[in-house]
Every structure is written in C-alpha cells, then in structure tokens.
C-alpha cells in the first residue's frame, strides 16, 4: 500500500498536510527522521522522492498519531498484532476476524472465492490449492496492508502499530472505500479489507462487522496487513480505516524527501482514518482505496483522527479475500485525481512521476517533455543491467510524438536555425536540447548523450552567465523546453527536394455489399461536406491537401475531377495484377477549385453502381494504386479505404477464408494473427517508402481476415476501423463520427522517428504502427495525434546516478501543409542504485501498456498460452523482487505489493483476460485481430480504460452535479439493480439498467413507462427535456468526446440476453471464457511469488 504513495503526488499532500501538521509534525517529525531510515517503509513508498519523504513521516508520525487517537492506539497494537498474524502467514489482511464475521453472514459472493482461509474452510475453494489459498488469503490480507507496510515490518510493526493501523487501514484498504460502500449497502465498515490483497476476506467480514466496526475499518486500510488484523478488534471500531492505504500516499507529501515512502504513509493513514469515520459512506464509491485513497479521504477526512479505525482491515482471519480489501483501481484513480489534479505538473525536475493518465492536469514545460508526449514505466531506472534484470521491470517509454494538447497548453515552438539546419552533436547527431552543457565560455558544448565536445557555430554563440548557463537560454526553446520543433532544411527531405503538399485519396468499395447497405451513398454524401474540413496548418485559410477519388470492386475506377471539366471522368483499370495509375493531371485536385466536379462525382457514384451485381473485391491493388498515385504526384499522403469483404477476386493479395476456431488454444493459433501472404508486407514497405499512410474502414458481414488486411495500415501508421454488419440506421453516426475525426485530425507524413539515449541504455525494441527497415529508425508513412510508439530500453553500460538518463525522441515529418519539420522531445530520468527507488517511481499504467503490447505482439509467434505464462511470470518476478529486496521482512504468507504497483495484478489480469489472450466463444477471429492491432498503437490512457473499463453509476450522485459520477469497480457485485450504469472502455459504451430502477427514472430517460418496455439493444437515447435525460446524454457525449473513436451506445437490461455481452467487461469478475476473477488472480499471483521466493 504504502508504496503506492509514490504516486500520491505532491499536490494532494499539499492539501492534506495542512490538516496533518498537527499530528505529523509533532510526532512524526522526530520519527520521520528515524522512520525514514526505517527502511521498510522508505522502500515502499519510495517511488517519488518527494513523496517518499512524506511517507516516512507519515509512518513515523502515524504511530504517534495513532497513538494519539484512540483508535490508532488500538490499531497500533492491532497493527503489530496484525503483522504478527500476518507474519504467521495466513492472516490475510486485517479483515480476518471481521472477515469471518462478515463472511458468514455475507457468505455472499465475494467471500466465496477467496474463502480459503483457515477459518472458513468451506469457503476456500477458489484457487486450486487449498492450502495456498489459505495462505494466500492470509498473505494477501497481510500483503495489502503490508504492502505498504511490508517493508518496515518489524519496525513498522511497532511504529506502525498505531500508525499502521491507521495507515494500513487507509492505504491498502482502499477498502475503506468499500466499506464505505458497505456501510451504505450493508454495514460493512471494514473497508480496510480492500487494503489490498489478501484482505479481501477481511472485507467481507467487514460488512458484517461493519455494523460494529465500520469505523475501524477505515483505519485498516492503510497498512493493510498489519493494521488490518489488529483492526478487527479495534478497527472495527476504527472503521475509518479504509483510508489507510490511501493515506499512505498522502504522507509522502507531507514528508520531505528524506524518508521515502513509508514514513509518509504512516501519516496519511491517519488522515483517512480520521476522515473515514464520517465519510465512509461516501468513500464507498471509491472502492479502490489503494492509491487514490488519500485524495478522497484526504479531503473529506482531513482530520487525522480516524486512524484508529483503520485497524479494522487487517484483523480477521483471512478466509477469503474481501474484494473490497484488495487494491482498487477506482480508489487509486480517485486519489490521484484529488491529489494531483489541481496543480500543474511542472516538468523541470528530473525523474518526476507524472500524475496518472486518468487525472486531469496541466503541464508546464520547463525542460522535460510533457507526459502527454512521453510516459515511462519508471522514472528512476537502475544504474546497472544487473539490477534491471533482477527487478524485471521493463524499462520502456510510451511516446506519442504528435499528441494533441489541451487548449491551455501551448503547442511546441517552431525553431528555425536557418540554412545550416538544426544544431546537432557531431558524433551522435543528437539535437540541441536543454541538457547540453556549454563550456569554455560558450564556445563549445558537450553533448549530454555521448559526451562529445562540439564547437558552437559562430552564429549560435552566446555568452554564459555565472551559473554556466547561456544568457539566452530562456529565449530559445531548444535550450529551455522539453519539446519543440525545428524547421528542417532541404537535407532532411527525400531526394533533397522540399516535399509537395500531401494528398488524401478516398478509395471506396462499390461492390454489391457496399451498395446494398447504403454505405456508398452515405459516404459520398458525407464527403461533400467533409472535404471542407481537411486538416490545415496554423491559421491557413484553406488546406493545402489535395484529394483524389477511386472506387473499386474487382477493378478500379479512377476519377478525373480536374476543375476544367464539366463532368468527372471515370477511368477503369482492370489490370489488377499489375496496378498503375491511369492519370496524373486531374486526379489529385484542390477541393475548392474542383468543387463542382467533385460534387457531381459524389452525386453520381451511388447512382452509377446502384445496379451492380459485382460481389468480388480486390484489396492489394487498391492500395497499390493509391501509393502509385502519390508516387506519380511526388508527394506523401493518406489513403482512406472503405472496404466490405474478403478480397477473393483474382489479384495479388487474394485471400481465402481461413477462419478456423478449432485452432484456438493450439500451437497454430498464432496463424490466425499472421497475414496470409507476404504480399501485404511487401506492399506496406513500398507504401512506407512513398510516405503513403493507409486508413482502413471495414464493413464486413462476415470474415474478412482483419489480420491480413490490417497489415498495411499497421505498418504505415494508419488506423483500422471496423463496423461489423454495418447498417446505415444503426451505425451511421458512429461511422461518420469516426470518419470526420479521422479526416480532420492533424497528421504528419513520411516521418522517421529516432530515439537517442544517453550512454548506458539504448532503445532496443519498438511497438506500434510503423515499419522499421533497420534497428533504430522508426519509419511512419503517416503519424497522427492518436498514435503511440512504445520503446523498450536495455542497458548496454552503467548509468550514473548523478547525470541520470536522458531520452531524446526526434521525429522528422512533413506537416499537413507540406512543411518538413523535426519535433524533438527530451526527457531526463533519474538513475538509482537501490531497487527500492525503482519501485517507488514506477507507473503501472505505462507498464501495462508495454506489457500488453509485448504480449499482443507475442501472439504472432508463440502460442497464446505461452504468452500468458510469460506475462504472469514476469509480473511475479517483478513483485517477488520487490518483496525480496525492498519489503521489510515479513512472513512469506504476506502478499506485499509496491505502492506504485499495487494495481499491477488487477490490470495484468485484465490483459490476460482480454479477447486476444483469452477469447470467449462469441469473439470472432476478426475481432481479435482487430483488437490486437488497435492496442498496438494505443497510448497509456487508452490501454488503461480499455483493459479496465470505467463503470459509472448514473443515479447515485445528485442530479445537479455536473461532474462525472465517481466510478465503481468493474464487478457485478457493484451493480445495484435499482440503479443504472454506464460502462465504457474506449471502444464500447453500455448503459446497464437494473431491473428495479424507479419507474420515474425509466420514464424520464427512455420515455417508456416501465423497465420491461425498454428496448434491449437500443443505441440511442430519446431526446427528452428533463434533467436526468439531459444529464445522461450529456455524460455520454462527454465520454465520447474523451475517446478517439466514437463509442456506440448499447442499452443493456438486467437479466437480458445482451447482458452477457456487458458482463464480459466486468473485468474483476470471473469471465465466461475462463478468465480469473481479480481475487482469484491475486491469490494465484501470490502463489507464484511465493514460489519464486522460496
């Protein structure tokens, strides 16, 4: 738990602090110092220096504080006890006692899985190995809590005792939140359980206890394990616990650098705990106490008092894990939002962990690239490869070079170095950046990447000030900012010629299927207006982009739309075996000049093919034609391909239907993801060479072999959109919306990206939609603001703690006005010699992004099962390494998670359960291939919500509130049949309606009188003039606005057939296809870790 803190970001702390002051300072002050040392905590929290500090204090303080508050005291003991218990192993988080309690009563769902706990043997079932399970649970419980605590065990134990309890409660126990919920729902104060891990069991119990304990629970959260246990006793009293975990994070802030994590944690917990009492209910919403906790709690609870309560969590004998007790993504997200969403993220300091992607924050560029451009799995990387190997934490950066920025943030400045071109290091060719060191009075500079000493050209000379900085440093973006652009000289252009403005070519399938569904008509109609919105640069009045049109079925039809013609002319090319472009002049035209002809063409296309009977299509020749057209026009550009069916006509790239579900789970499964023939790769290569990016819109009625068709878009930096069984009435809005966005979005062409690093590490692997002809240059025929490239780094030498590690990502591209530019992003990272530092500065979301991409690429070459195992093993190794090297000694039965990674298991489980890695019966091969390629270029925010969907209750919050309702965890248990929920994952959007929703609500939203009259599968909400309808529709709109693709709404009724589909996205539950529930998986993970440790 504590660990989590890392994240907890400063900001939040800031706030909380005020409150704490009293507590912390006094008590902690001293301790903190000491605590800091108390390794354990430190370690945990560790992540962010800043935070860490706080934490320590927290910790240290905590104790005292805890002491102070009655609860705390109670906890303290508990805490210890807890540990003790945990240590013993079995004990899960605190919950134990409580848990039991709860369970019994609650026997309810949750418990069952985990059940294993000794106490309730019966329950245990979950994981195969009963014994383990037991342990696990125990551990878990311990873990969670401990998570935070873990490190410090002994000391902490003591220290914590009190604090922990608090802490624990808070931290881990995000549960608190849960509890909260319980309270509402039921009594369950236990919140603590959540704390994490094992805890679950506890959670349940919590409820039961809740009644009694509610308060305590809160306490529990934090230090999960420790406290937990204790709590029970107290806790329950102390319910507030839930916070603990969260708390942990806050502390960090409070504390100064010195102590890292732990310290802080301590303190925080208190906070929460304090708060909890009062709040619990509220918090409920936010189950996942984990990170987030603080924020929530923080604010609400400000008052430290709660501590006591915390204890709750740990308490009980671990039977099953209480779902509320295990780390909750929701809580973590909420906490981060509250803590870090308010103040701008200033990039001046090296190695800062940015706020979560789910948090809204502003960025001030003071020398490092904004996290919108680059996010790293860790902001503190090991100095040596040995360490890196030991930790197994992948070092990767997720780069989105052309990310779009919120209006408040300025886009990168364009720097013009004149004819000589951008200033670069002579040896490694790195571009001038803020980290370059000027020496000898400014006459030379030393390259920060390769240490080469270069002369400063006379025209660039400037004097240095007393600090060795150039006097003009702040006048020059390349000397003061993390991201900026250079104007490229002709040397950076193909054939040493400045590029011509790019072109868009629309290539429309006009075979029978496309005509029948009305697609062609719809599309042509839309294009007429859409052409006015082609991307343009800056304030340009009209877009420089030229357009061209092609239709095709078995043959291709090109159109001459030269402005001087009265009528467009069609040119049919039927030599598909040897494609070429039949015309040059008049094919690519300026929209405004040829508007009349284009309009006439678009009017006529649907008519001309209205009677077509041609059902066969070609594919490769179409792209080839587009590519050739661009080649002939000597420009880069983008093809928009609208395609309906498997290309079975005789032509290069002809495909056959090879969909075979029997291959699933066999060694041959990988072939389903591989292209059928090499023709597609070859073609893609040619496209890349020409700067021809391909966006593919698919409208299949049946198998179209997305795996093969998407090869070209994939390798050229394009996008694939798929609208299965397209019908104009139902899918029009979605398609048009995607199309509009796709056409309008800013895009760069003919790009080459290169990532340079300081000596010691280097980029070794790349994931995303692009092509590489050598090992270093990422070639992108096209690159838009949604595309992400994930880069993995490996050591090839030692790094230096002092100088840190630098990344420079340089992207050479042609802007949509045809200007050749270089966009540079710089990022400085810290280096560490202590593993704890690494774990304290990790970013789980980014890690998951990397791991998902890694795994999704893996399925091309290895059996899916092997890929899954690799993921699990790697995750286990990461966590085991932490446990071994960073956590304070504790019983093996405890599951201890680094604060920063406490969500790793749940997220990883989501990845493992995803359609690609574990297909359900209803998932088609095409869908899997589609998702696979989508994920490949997703950024962190997208993978985050894609793997762990957002579930938003609609009627919980007051109707007047304009903010998004707090999310709930993606589990069926969280659904109340009296409520409605929106679920979205970036691709899908569901509105789930509980069976017993109030009639009034039904009426005001659906305009029907009862639940039974709601049409299942409805995709549009009626426009009604009442607050609820407005609010819901507004919410849906705002959700859509956040995503790069339009999400079609599907209304799902409880107990309806469609619900199966919906449940697929409740990722914390067991899935029909065999995916483990969160709790089960956590136990399993714990088992794996234990095996590694032993």
């Amino acid at each position: 738990m504590n660990v989590n803190q890392s994240v907890p970001p400063v900001p939040s702390f800031g706030q909380p602090q005020p409150v704490y002051p009293g507590y912390h300072q006094s008590s902690y002050g001293g301790q903190s110092g000491s605590t800091a040392p108390t390794i354990p905590y430190g370690a945990y929290n560790g992540p962010v220096p800043g935070y860490q500090q706080t934490l320590p204090q927290g910790m240290s303080r905590a104790p005292p504080s805890s002491g102070a508050p009655p609860a705390s005291t109670a906890q303290a003991p508990c805490g210890q006890a807890a540990y003790g218990q945990f240590g013993q192993g079995d004990v899960q988080n605190g919950p134990s006692s409580t848990v039991q309690m709860q369970r019994l009563p609650g026997s309810q769902p949750f418990g069952s899985p985990l059940a294993p706990v000794g106490n309730q043997p019966a329950v245990l079932q979950p994981y195969g190995p009963p014994p383990t399970s037991a342990q696990v649970t125990a551990q878990l419980s311990g873990m969670q809590i401990s998570g935070a605590v873990a490190p410090a065990p002994p000391s902490s134990g003591l220290g914590y005792g009190p604090p922990t309890s608090l802490a624990s409660a808070s931290g881990s126990f995000p549960n608190s939140g849960l509890y909260g919920s319980y309270p509402q729902g039921q009594a369950p104060p236990l919140s603590q359980a959540q704390g994490h891990p094992g805890i679950q069991t506890s959670q349940r119990s919590a409820p039961s206890q809740a009644s009694g304990f509610t308060p305590p629970a809160s306490g529990g959260p934090r230090l999960p394990s420790m406290t937990g246990p204790l709590l029970p006793g107290q806790s329950f009293g102390g319910p507030s616990v839930s916070q603990p975990n969260h708390v942990s994070s806050p502390p960090p802030q409070a504390l100064p650098p010195g102590t890292q994590m732990t310290g802080p944690l301590g303190p925080l917990p208190p906070m929460h705990s304090l708060q909890q009492p009062g709040y619990q209910p509220q918090q409920n919403g936010s189950f996942g106490p984990a990170r987030g906790p603080q924020p929530n709690y923080g604010s609400p609870y400000p008052a430290a008092p709660t501590f006591g309560s915390q204890s709750g969590p740990q308490p009980l004998p671990p039977k099953r894990l209480d779902p509320d007790a295990i780390p909750s993504p929701i809580q973590v997200i909420e906490d981060d939002r509250n803590n870090r969403g308010t103040e701008p993220f200033v990039t001046g300091v090296r190695g800062q962990v940015p706020p979560l992607v789910t948090t809204n924050f502003l960025v001030k560029d003071q020398g490092n690239a904004s996290p919108r451009y680059i996010r790293c799995t860790s902001y503190n990387i090991p100095c040596t490869s040995d360490m890196a190997k030991q930790a197994q934490v992948p070092l990767a950066a997720v780069i989105k070079p052309l990310a779009s920025l919120p209006p408040e943030e300025a886009s990168p400045y364009v720097v013009d170095h004149g004819e000589s071109g951008p200033l670069r290091c002579n040896r490694c060719k790195a571009y001038m950046c803020p980290f370059m060191q000027f020496i000898e009075g400014g006459r030379r500079f030393q390259c920060c990447f390769c240490s080469c000493i270069n002369d400063v050209p006379p025209q660039y000379f400037q004097h240095l000030d007393h600090t060795g900085k150039r006097v003009d440093a702040y006048d020059r973006p390349e000397l003061s900012l993390g991201s900026y652009e250079f104007l490229a000289t002709v040397d950076y252009c193909k054939n040493n010629k400045f590029p011509s403005p790019p072109a868009f070519i629309f290539m429309i399938d006009v075979s029978y299927n496309a005509i029948r569904t009305g697609l062609v008509r719809l599309l042509c109609e839309e294009l007429k207006s859409l052409l006015d919105f082609l991307p343009r640069e800056g304030g340009a009045e009209e877009s420089a982009i030229r357009v061209g049109f092609v239709t095709y079925n078995k043959v291709l039809h090109f159109y001459n739309v030269k402005s001087s013609l009265a009528q467009p002319q069609m040119m049919v090319v039927s030599d598909v075996a040897d494609m070429f472009v039949p015309l040059l002049d008049g094919f690519l035209v300026n929209v405004n000049e040829s508007r009349a002809v284009i309009t006439s063409l678009l009017d006529q296309i649907p008519e001309m093919f209205a009677d077509t009977r041609e059902t066969e299509t070609v594919f490769v020749p179409v792209i080839q034609a587009g590519m050739e057209a661009l080649k002939a026009a000597e420009c880069a550009g983008k093809l928009f391909l609208f395609h309906t069916s498997l290309p079975i006509a005789e032509a290069p790239g002809k495909l056959k239907n090879r969909d075979d579900r029997k291959l699933i789970n066999t060694d041959k499964e990988k072939t389903l993801f591989q292209p059928q023939t090499g023709a597609y790769q070859t073609l893609a290569k040619e496209c890349v060479a020409q700067g021809c990016c391909v966006d593919l819109f698919l409208f299949p009625n049946q198998y179209v072999d997305v795996a093969t068709l998407s090869v070209v878009p994939q390798l050229t930096g394009g996008s694939v959109y798929k609208y299965a069984c397209f019908q104009v009435e139902n899918d029009q809005e979605r398609f048009l919306s995607d199309l509009r966005r796709d056409v309008q979005k800013v895009v760069g062409f003919d790009a080459v990206m290169r990532v340079r690093t300081s000596t010691g590490i280097r980029a070794v692997d790349f994931f995303g939609a692009f092509y590489m002809s050598n090992t270093t240059d990422v070639e992108l025929a096209g690159l838009d603001g949604d595309k992400t490239v994930t880069v993995e780094f490996k050591h090839d030498d030692r790094l230096n703690e002092e100088s840190g590690a630098l990344l420079q990502c340089a992207l050479l591209y042609t802007s949509c006005a045809g200007q050749r530019r270089l966009r540079i992003h710089n990022l400085a990272l810290n280096c560490c010699t202590q593993l704890a530092d690494l774990y304290r500065n990790c970013e789980t979301d980014t890690l998951i992004n990397y791991m998902a991409k890694f795994a999704y690429r893996g399925v091309l070459n290895s059996p899916v099962k092997a890929v899954r195992d690799t993921l699990i093993t790697q995750c286990a190794q990461i966590l085991a390494c932490y446990r071994k090297n960073c956590a304070s000694p504790s019983s093996a039965g405890q599951l201890i998670l680094p604060e920063c990674m406490k969500l790793l298991p749940v997220y990883l489980n989501c990845v493992l359960k995803s359609d690609v890695l574990q297909p359900g019966a209803e998932i088609t091969t095409d869908d899997r291939a589609y998702v696979r390629q989508l994920v490949t270029s997703m950024d962190v925010a997208e993978t985050n919500v894609f793997f762990y969907p957002r579930l938003l209750p609609l009627t919980k919050s007051p109707i007047e509130s304009t903010t998004e309702p707090p999310a709930v965890r993606a589990s069926e248990e969280r659904l109340s049949n009296g409520d409605m929920y929106l679920l979205e994952n970036g691709l899908n959007l569901f509105l789930w309606v509980g069976a017993s929703v109030q009639q009034g609500v039904v009426q005001s939203l659906f305009s029907v009188s009862s639940f039974s009259q709601i049409t299942s599968g409805l995709s549009v909400l009626p426009v009604l003039d009442n607050p609820l309808s407005k609010k819901v529709r507004g919410l849906i709109d705002s959700l859509r606005a956040q995503r790069s693709r339009y999400m079609k709404l599907i209304v799902v009724k409880q107990e309806d057939k469609l619900e199966m589909l919906f449940k697929h996205f409740l990722v914390e539950d067991k899935s029909l296809s065999g995916g483990a529930s969160y709790v089960d998986f956590l136990c399993h993970m714990h088992k794996e870790i234990r095996q590694l440790l032993s």
């Binding site: 002319q569 069609m570 040119m571 049919v572 090319v573 070429f580 008519e607 001309m608």
Partner: protein, 767 residues
C-alpha cells in the same frame, strides 16, 4: 480484231485484269524463257456502274477440289441440263432453279459479256460496319485539335448504323465506354504491358462472367449478348456523346521532361484494339483506324526510346544492324497484323509527324490487312484532312467505297498453276492442284484473305505455265482463269464477284510474233516492279537492282533485234519499246532506292505501290510531266531535264506529289506581277491552267498527294529535279551543246547512258 492495245483496254475495263502476256506460251520451258512471268494485275472490285449484282447465288462445280463457278466458258448441255466445268471437266447438273434454261434463256453468268459478274448473298446475319478509332493523345495542341475536328466530322460521314468505338493512348491506353451517360467512363491499360487477347477481354469485362453460379436469376439474359456494346455503339445513338467526348480529349497529361519524347504506347493500343474486336466481332467487317503523331516509345512495339538524344533508326542504322528495337517491334506488329487478318479486320495507319513514326515497323498492319497508310506532316494539314475525308466517299450507288473481309480464290485450268500474289493480302494457305511449288510473292496457296479493299485495290497475281513441252496444246486451245472474290460490301451484304478470263495458247517456236505483239509492257513493268519491291522488303537493295537489271537484259536479249556484239544494231519492237525506260525510272524510284528516304517513307511508298492499279503504279514508276506555255496547249513532255525550260510551267505528278514548277522567266514575270495586269490576262490564265489541272488530280487521288508549288531555284524544286532524267548534269553540261533545259547536279546515270549500257550488254554474247 482490234489491236492488242484495244483488247487490253477492253479487258481491263470489263474485268479489271491486265496480263503481262495476252497470248500464252504453251510450254513450261518456253514460258520461263520469256523472262517476264505470266501474271496479271487484278482489281477485284473494279467499279462497274454497268454491272448490277444478280440477286442469287452462284452455281458451283460439284467437285470438292474445284468448286469453280459456272461461267460463260462452260459447255452447257441445255437439254440434259448439264454443264461441264471448264477447269476440271466435271459434269454438273444444274440446280432445280435453272430448270427453264435454254439457248435463248440463259442466266447472266453464261453470257459472254458477263465474264465478270457479281452475286449477292442473302444468307447470314448482317452485322453493321465497325470503325474503331485509336487516337494518339501525345500531340501538339493544335494538332490534336485538328485531329479531334476531323474525327468529329467523320462521325457525320459514317453510316448511321455503323458501330463506332474509341481508344485513346499516350502513356496509358484508354478504351472509352460509350454507352454511359453522365460520367464518361474509360478502361485504362498500362502502356508497357503486352496483354493477350484473353486478358484484354477479361479486363474489359467482355468474357461471359462466371456469374451464373451466384445469380441464376432470370434478370440477366438481355445483358450479355452485347456486353461489347459498351465500347462499340451505333453512330446514330451516340454521336452527340462521342462528339463531346472527342471534344474533351485532353493531351496526354503525363509530363514530358525536356530532352524526352512523350511516352506513346502505340503497340499496346493496337493490341487492345485488335483484342477488343477479336473478342466481340470476329469475322465481321471492321476498320481499326490508328491516328498517331509520333513513334511508339514504350512497351511492346516500341520503335525508339524516349531519349531525344537518340534519334530514331535510319536506313544507315538498319544496314549497320544498329536499330535495336526494330526486329522486336516488327515482330509485335506482324503478330497483331496476322491476328487481325485472321479476324477479318483491317488496320489503317494515319501517321502525321515531321519525324518518322515507325511506319517501317507497323507497315505490316496495313499491308497484311488491306488497311490504308497515310503519312503526313501534321494532322492540321489539308493533306490529312482531305485524305481522311476521302476514305468515306461514296460511289455512284451511294455506298462507301470500301469492302471488308474478302477472300480471293483463284482457279486455273490445268496448264497453269498459281505461283503467288503481291498486294495487301495474306495467304489462307489453301493447297490445291493448281498451286505451284514455285512462289512469287505470297504463294503456296490458291486463296488469299483481303481484310480491307476498295475499288482500286489491285493485286499482282503470278502464274506458272506447267504444260510440258512434249504435250502440245491443240491449236486454238485456251487457258482459263477464274477469280472468285467473296467480300462484305459496305452495305454489309455478302457478295461474290466472279471474273473468268481465257487467253489463247501459242507455241513459242511458231508464233513468237503473236506472243510478242500481245505483250503488255505496262502491266509487265508494274508486275516486275512489284516483284522487285517485294524482294526489296527482304533483300539488300543492290541485289534487287542487279536482279532487275539481269531480267531486263535477258528480256532484251530475247526480244530485241540486233546483231551480236553490235550495240548500235539493237532494236526493240513497239510492244517492248517503253519497257527499258520504265525499268530505268523504277531503278531510281523510292521503291527501290532508299537513299534520301527514311525507312518510314520507303515503307509508305512501297505500301501504296503494292495496292494501286496499273495507271497509278505507272505514274509512281515514271512520273508524268506536263508542260504549259504560250506556244500551245499543255502537252506531256519527257521526264527529262531538257524539259525544264525558262518559259514553261511544268506540272509533275509523281502520285505522291504534285509539283507545279514555274520556269525562270515565268517566275520573274510572276514576281513582276504581270498576272494582275489586265493586259496580261493570258498570262494569268497560263498560270491558272496547271493549278486547275493539279486540282483535278488532287480531287481524284487517294491518298492526297503532297501539293508543291515552286519555281525555278526554289528549294522545293528538288522534287522535280530528283525525278527527271538527268540528261544534263554538271558533268556534261556543255557536252550536249544544247541550250535548253536545266542541268541536274547529280552523279546518277542518265537514261541515255543506261540505254547504251543495256544495248551493249544485250548484244554481248557473254551473258
């Protein structure tokens, strides 16, 4: 009997036939000693306003190997209703329809004046004529504009129900679909890729799609029969459309960088045109009309690369074997030509450019299919415009003067065999008893296919006398030849024209005088010239000349009267007197001399030489020169430098050129403007006279000759100077002591020198 001259003329007018010998030597051995082979010039469709076609079908000899048509030479047994074939002597029953036949009630084909008769066949579906325009778009703007106008104009000249199609080419080849409204639609092909007919048809969607499987619905049937109609539409339906389409034709839009030729895919365009017709209308009369403004520069059939710095092949290159694309290109076009011929279509080539356009390589397309070949400097000249217009002229019946898909079948009586034919035709490879083993021209067959012909198309047909010396033919015996021409009339009817001729046999020993007197030296000159030109296509120039010389010498030896070794005693009879002179001019003609002519020009000249009738051919061999002066009415004068006088106006007709040449004095008068002075109106008339005469020639001739108006000292005077016999040159300027005429600066021998040598050689016993 009238003179042989009259006989010859009468035969020509009636039958369109001119024989080199009108009395035939009766033995093989003697025939070979005659030097000039027994041969004839046949104009199968010679216009016969007085010959209405009969509305029934011909009666054929029942012997399968014969199938000769009943003709006036057959012996008829009116009572038994039998007739004996005069070629194979098979006795045949008359068909029932001839039941009423009797001495006084003869069918036309038995009347002697119907030695040539035309039958109209009612059977068979009539399909409309087809005109497929294949248009080069790599032209200069005004050239293209002129061409477009010509094409648009031609639409109004076509028969309304004719099908018309359009293919344009440049770097790409576009086949325009004519049926659609709104958007104009075309199929585009890469200009560098040779496609098989099957591929072309597939790509144009002409093959019956394998759709029935998916759509066995009854909807379709109507569509398929005329899938091809998308590309070939009746003129009356789409002339507006097509006019617009032609109007919108743009120049080939692909940029041509400096120092390059535009990329022109003539080879592929033709191939597609051929494939298109092959797939849709095989064995139906169709014209592919290729309009090109430059050499093919890419793809199969390319003649020269696109680098301007490498000039197109010249005769020099060809002799040095330095024309790298020639063989391949020729092969490509030959393959196309043969396919086209097999389908019964013909290819016209209209090439207008200042430089060569690859006619050398493409000539076979026109030569083998009976298409036209027109060469000009630009489409924007009256030469092209009027020539093109003249293709669509109509005859006295209002029918187009063109016929399609003809086969010429020749039958001979036993003493003769067929050695071959020279003209715009291809062999059908029909072997038979009357086919000789010795080939002259296109031989080895008794039937030829002529895909396109007009009333002037003339073929040289060569025979061999096979009667053995020891099997004399009875006195008064006659040899017979029957020409049967099946063709598609421009009214789309199938017709058969049958010409049956007979000539007397004569024993050379006893009747040499007869044979001599019946020698047609004009026909002989043209027939020998055709042989010479035919050889020149495949042999080295000097070899052909040597061969011609030897033949001439042998002829003179055979028929001249002289004392051995005494050149001055040499005399030729009237019927041979002009022959050496024809040969002299033939040797100098562009048909055999490539000097000063590009390969394209040579091909062009030879093309026309091989299809024009006797009169025109003679003009080509020996141009006609008229002289206009105040001394009297215009008169033909010797084609000699001595005819070039200062106070004369000369009008020369070489067939390809009409030259009006003003003598020195006339030119000065002209400059002085006397023609504008009322008192010198007679001068004005004098100036006008040749113009009017030239105009007359221009009106009648196809293709339009190049019209040259020049004067003494004018650069264009070279056309005249190069043709006249150089009796005065810089070498002998004063030797002759004449004051008249103009010296020609040349080293060529003059006719006088030529004759002197000829006489010497003829009388010498050495050879």
């Amino acid at each position: 009997m009238a003179t042989y001259l009259e006989f010859i003329q009468q035969n020509e007018e009636r039958d369109g036939v001119r024989f080199s010998w009108n009395v035939w030597p009766s033995s093989r051995l003697e025939a070979t000693r005659m030097v000039v082979p027994l041969a004839c010039l046949l104009t199968p469709l010679k216009e016969r306003p007085d010959l209405p076609p009969v509305q029934y079908e011909p009666v054929l000899c029942s012997r399968p190997t014969c199938k000769a048509v009943l003709n006036p030479l057959c012996q008829v047994d009116y009572r038994a209703k039998l007739w004996a074939c005069n070629f194979c002597f098979q006795r045949n029953q008359f068909p029932p329809a001839y039941g009423g036949i009797s001495e006084v009630n003869q069918p036309a084909e038995l009347m002697p004046q119907f030695s040539t008769i035309e039958y109209m066949i009612q059977r068979g579906a009539q399909s409309p004529l087809i005109f497929l325009y294949v248009v080069d778009t790599c032209l200069e703007e005004d050239d293209l504009q002129a061409l477009k106008e010509s094409l648009q104009m031609s639409l109004s000249l076509l028969p309304p129900d004719a099908l018309v199609g359009l293919i344009t080419f440049g770097r790409m080849v576009q086949v325009h679909e004519l049926s659609c409204e709104g958007i104009s639609k075309s199929y585009v092909f890469r200009g560098t890729k040779d496609l098989t007919a099957k591929q072309i048809q597939d790509m144009l969607g002409l093959t019956k799609p394998a759709m029935p499987m998916q759509q066995a619905r009854p909807v379709q049937p109507q569509e398929h029969p005329f899938a091809s109609t998308r590309f070939l539409q009746p003129v009356h339906k789409i002339d507006m459309n097509l006019t617009d389409l032609l109007g919108e034709l743009q120049r080939d839009p692909w940029p041509v960088t400096q120092g390059k030729r535009p990329l022109r895919s003539t080879g592929v365009a033709l191939s597609i045109a051929v494939g298109l017709l092959e797939g849709t209308f095989p064995n139906t009369g169709a014209r592919i009309m290729l309009f090109t403004g430059g050499p093919p520069t890419q793809g199969p059939g390319m003649v020269v690369g696109d680098e301007l710095k490498i000039p197109i092949r010249s005769w020099h290159d060809i002799e040095k074997d330095n024309a790298r694309f020639m063989k391949k290109a020729t092969k490509h076009y030959e393959m196309l030509a043969n396919r086209t011929a097999a389908n019964g279509h013909c290819i016209d080539i209209y090439a207008c450019a200042l430089d060569q356009t690859g006619l050398l390589e493409m000539k076979c397309c026109a030569n083998l299919t009976g298409g036209y070949m027109v060469m000009g400097d630009s489409f924007n000249t009256s030469l092209f415009k009027q020539t093109f217009q003249r293709i669509f002229t109509k005859d006295f019946n209002g029918d187009f003067r063109m016929a399609f898909g003809a086969t010429l079948d020749v039958k001979t009586s036993r003493e003769l065999k067929i050695a071959g034919a020279i003209g715009p035709c291809v062999s059908l490879n029909v072997k038979g008893p009357c086919v000789s083993e010795n080939e002259l021209g296109v031989g080895g067959t008794s039937q030829w296919k002529i895909c396109g012909l007009d009333p002037t198309s003339t073929f040289g047909i060569y025979f061999e006398v096979v009667n053995q010396h020891n099997a004399p033919i009875p006195q008064g015996g006659r040899g017979a030849i029957q020409f049967v021409t099946h063709y598609q009339h421009s009214s789309t009817q199938r017709r058969i024209r049958v010409t049956t001729i007979a000539r007397n046999w004569a024993d050379v020993q006893s009747q040499l005088r007869h044979i001599e007197a019946a020698f047609d030296q004009e026909a002989a000159a043209v027939l020998m010239a055709r042989l010479g030109v035919f050889r020149a296509e495949s042999e080295e120039g000097p070899d052909v000349l040597r061969w011609l010389d030897r033949q001439l010498i042998r002829l003179c030896q055979k028929f001249g009267q002289y004392n051995k070794e005494d050149p001055t005693s040499f005399r030729l009879s009237d019927s041979f007197s002009l022959y050496p002179q024809f040969m002299f001019h033939l040797r100098r003609s562009p048909f055999l001399q490539v000097f000063n002519n590009s390969p394209d020009e040579s091909s062009y000249y030879r093309h026309h030489f091989a299809r024009q009738d006797l009169t025109q051919s003679l003009i080509m061999i020996q141009p006609i020169l008229y002289s206009y002066s105040f001394h009297g009415p215009p008169e033909p004068v010797l084609l000699d430098s001595s005819s070039i006088l200062a106070d004369r106006i000369l009008l020369m007709d070489t067939f390809f050129q009409i030259v009006i040449y003003l003598g020195e004095t006339i030119a000065q008068w002209c400059k002085a403007g006397y023609q504008d002075m009322p008192e010198y109106e007679n001068f004005k008339h004098l100036l006008q006279a040749p113009l009017d005469d030239a105009q007359e020639i221009l009106q009648a001739r196809f293709p339009m000759p190049r019209y040259i108006n020049t004067e003494h000292g004018g650069s264009q005077a070279r056309f005249l100077l190069s043709k006249v016999n150089p009796s005065q040159t810089h070498n002998n300027l004063y030797a002759w002591g004449q004051e008249t005429g103009a010296p020609i600066l040349t080293d060529d021998v003059s006719l006088q020198v030529f004759m002197d040598h000829l006489k010497k050689l003829a009388v010498s016993s050495a050879c």
